[in-house]
Symmetry: C2
Subunit: 352 residues, 2 copies
């Protein structure tokens, strides 16, 4: 029912919700009363009369009430944002600093302090942080363990446990996911992207999130999207992973300024492989690629038109991420909000 409210262009009435959901008016009214009491929706004054009949009062998601805390740790920055139930960003803090020398514990302690600031500011503003989601540039297990984050030098890090050492975060539900996955979901849900696309996140490392028919394709073990380790030059530069010629060694963020034509060529070769294999019609360039988009575009498109078998039949659309470098933390915060919307009863039980 919260999705019906969220997806309505206008504030729907109780009657409109009953019609849209197939529930009886009595049931809808009982639910609405619970959701108002729980601070999830608010009931606004009747809208101005636009036609015949008495206009109904309108329901909307509340901009107070539960909110999602989106967190991101990347190789050269920490970030936190708080997003309310209507999808509005209410807090946003980004701190640039190389995380490689710090180690997991120190990085997560610093991120914990950032998250605490964002949470306190949001709660001073009348919000209740319902949970947090953390985006990391690495392989994450189903249980939330960061199995390996090669560019951070992390291995088997229990990130929620580390974050829970921050007193202001103790007890807060925290989930963890790969940053490119969350960024792809952010582009899909927050920015309203195409139903099928590849999101490529250019940071020091390079990851990808694959959205197929409106869903994130995670792979059998949750480790899809490692486009940074697709071979572009088989005997090329050695990579941290032990192989040679990985995309990351030609198109990582640190190489964009010095190796721009090579970065574009390498990206084009790897992306052509994706399109040949998966027939994906749209590629979204995010992270550090977003601000470089206009400079990379021609070089990438030249490789795509040369190397994609079907390029002459149906061109591939290449575009910059709508959310820019915020995509991962926005996707993270949205995942918390979405969980509340999916199961408001669980939230009401916790809040009550």
């Amino acid at each position: 029912m919260l999705h019906t409210v969220a997806n309505s262009a206008n504030r729907p009435s109780r009657a409109a919700i009953a019609a849209a959901t197939g529930l009886t008016r009595a049931t809808v009214s009982a639910l609405v009363d619970d959701l108002i009491a729980g601070g999830l929706i608010t009931e606004h004054d009747p809208a101005p009369r636009t036609g015949a009949g008495r206009p109904a009062a309108g329901l909307a998601l509340t901009s107070a009430g539960p909110a999602g805390l989106g967190l991101e740790i990347n190789v050269d920055y920490l970030a936190a944002c708080v997003v309310d139930l209507t999808g509005e960003v209410r807090q946003r803090i980004v701190e640039h600093a190389d995380q490689r020398p710090a180690g997991a514990a120190a990085s997560l302690a610093a991120l914990g302090r950032l998250a605490a600031r964002a949470r306190l500011a949001a709660e001073a503003d009348g919000l209740t942080v319902a949970g947090a989601a953390l985006a990391v540039p690495g392989l994450v297990t189903e249980g939330g363990l960061v199995r390996v984050a090669p560019n951070l030098g992390w291995q088997d890090v229990d990130a929620p446990a580390e974050l829970h050492h921050t007193p202001e975060l103790a007890g807060l539900p925290i989930t963890v996911d790969n940053e490119a996955n969350l960024a792809a979901l952010g582009e899909l849900r927050v920015a309203g992207g195409d139903p099928t696309f590849l999101y490529v996140s250019g940071e020091i490392g390079i990851g990808a999130g694959l959205i197929l028919d409106g869903d994130l394709y995670r792979g059998v073990r949750g480790w899809s999207g490692e486009i940074g380790h697709v071979t572009v030059f088989p005997d090329g530069r050695p990579c941290r992973c032990g192989a040679n010629g990985c995309l990351e060694q030609y198109a990582g963020q640190e190489l964009l300024t010095t190796d721009e034509p090579l970065a574009a060529q390498a990206l084009g070769i790897a992306l052509a492989a994706v399109v040949n294999l998966l027939d994906v019609p749209v590629i979204v360039l995010g992270g550090a690629y977003a601000p470089y988009f206009t400079r990379l575009r021609d070089g990438i498109e030249a490789e795509l038109s040369r190397r994609v078998l079907t390029a002459g039949l149906a061109p591939v659309t290449l575009r910059a991420a709508t959310l820019g470098t915020d995509a991962a933390m926005r996707g993270a915060a949205d995942s918390v909000i979405r969980a509340v919307r999916d199961d408001p009863a669980a939230w009401l039980r916790r809040a009550g």
Copy 2:
């Protein structure tokens, strides 16, 4: 209901089918009578008594009745098979000849003659060919047009229309699909493969069929799986498609004998890209790769273990196709049988 019969280890009774489908016994009996009359199932004598109670008569798919005609046209052979409702291959004809000089019309006329022989032999054997499916090494549109088959030199070929020129095939429903797609479905359904795998078909060209969670992933325009045009050496050998360094130029069937180590290396590089992107745990090598499997294996696995980021965490299983070079035509015939099983009423209307 036919699936219930097909998937039962023993011949199920009418009562067992009612229990499995949730239909009433009266409904099941009416349906069973129709299906027996239509020649889709047969009712066998009561099974020997194994416990208390009167043993029920057992139902089974008929080995007479409707059958599927599977056809394949590839660069160096034509093939046809007829498979009955129980999945048994009743006819199989393979004719080796280079199709490149012939052109589409002549190749399809020759395949039509092969198909006619298979159909007549099957019908002499008591079967009724319900339809045909054709596997081609190229890009096929939803309407069944072969948009382009680079290694055959075909462009915009209406293959069913050409096959219908053969008098014995006139009026027969004929569908068309990419050979690697049908072969992947054959491995999945006929050979009972893993739910998620990449099938690679090594012929003169190289194609792939991607099975994700038990379904074929076709891509947005139906053109997924073009692994033969994944770049392995960016400045390498020129390909028919206009690009350089495509996998096909290093690991195509004609190069397997002369360039075996290079073929394995090139395959390993391309397959590592697939695993990095999609986290696919199983790779099945089919077509001409199947008989070469033991000689290619070590070279491919060396590249996978070096180039797949998660190789150390969870190894990839590499195996030869169970159906060997028959996978595509078996998958094709199975698709016809499956359509009859999915909608027996449509078959009964046609047959009646």
